[in-house]
Symmetry: C2
Subunit: 151 residues, 2 copies
DNA sequence: TATTGTTATACTCTATAACTATA
DNA sequence: TATAGTTATAGAGTATAACAATA
């Protein structure tokens, strides 16, 4: 590191990568925000406010994404018996199936992409994503301390 | 590499990263698609069809993004004297300024994020993005061979 | 009073189909 | 005929503000 500011190439790569993901996911029949939401649900979160915080989107946005997923039979809305203001979203078997298909599509796209560079460098790219994963999780925990109980 | 399929964590990280970029760019007053388009223009492309191919979006989508940027004074539309069907988009000084601000915002967000992990691992993450950059560019050249003359 | 989720509304991005102007 | 770009239209994701129900 030690860099004061990252090169534009590196910055823009993070932006370009997202479009590649959209493409891969379209083949799996799902959008990027839907993929993010299903991923989060598969980790155990379900209450709307928690999902919104973790995804860093507004609550109406979560309502909309869940509407779409419910409409496609990938998610079900349930009442929370402990607090009747709350909603709980749970994945249907179809939802779990499509999430696995989406993971495979993204994996395929990344591997295809990295197939064009030296294998050692490709390994660096994958390890780099793993690092970013850890950084995002550390950050999420920090930001959300105190609300985790709702997950 | 050698992996048959990448772990869900790695796949989903690529999806989550995009949302982080949206956030950083919002602080700079720009959207992710606008950032992608301005980035591409700063590399020399300007004809609409070429921008659409490189961004991998439809031509009407490019029209829309440029409409927004023109409306904000960040881009100007010009006629191509050589072929009057064609449009050429050029960045205004404000456009260049906001692109630099956007790069800085993204850089700041990435560095802040990676500040939470071991410096050596952070360096791996940045190097990984550089690898992905190269892979994307190699792919872009392959896909667009023959149309490059229009850039 | 505060919180959860939804509704109302508006804007951006996205696509496909149809159109105009030019080649 | 073919290509460049736009318009028309529709759908998804995004936000803020306002609301109802519950705590």
């Amino acid at each position: 590191m030690a860099a004061e500011q990252l090169s534009p190439e590196v910055c823009r790569t993070a932006a370009r990568l997202g479009r590649q993901m959209e493409f891969a996911l379209a083949n799996a029949g799902i959008t990027l925000p839907q993929y993010r939401l299903l991923s989060l649900m598969s980790e155990g979160s379900s209450a709307g406010a928690v999902l919104a915080d973790k995804l860093r989107v507004s609550r109406p946005t979560v309502t909309g994404i869940i509407d779409g997923l419910v409409g496609r039979g990938l998610v079900m809305r349930e009442d929370d018996p402990d607090d009747r203001r709350r909603m709980r979203a749970t994945m249907t078997p179809e939802g779990e199936k499509i999430l696995r298909r989406a993971d495979a599509a993204v994996s395929g796209r990344l591997l295809e992409l990295l197939g064009k560079v030296d294998p050692e460098r490709a390994a660096t790219a994958i390890e780099g994503l793993r690092v970013i994963h850890d950084a995002l999780d550390i950050r999420r925990e920090g930001k959300l301390q105190g609300t985790d109980a709702l997950a």
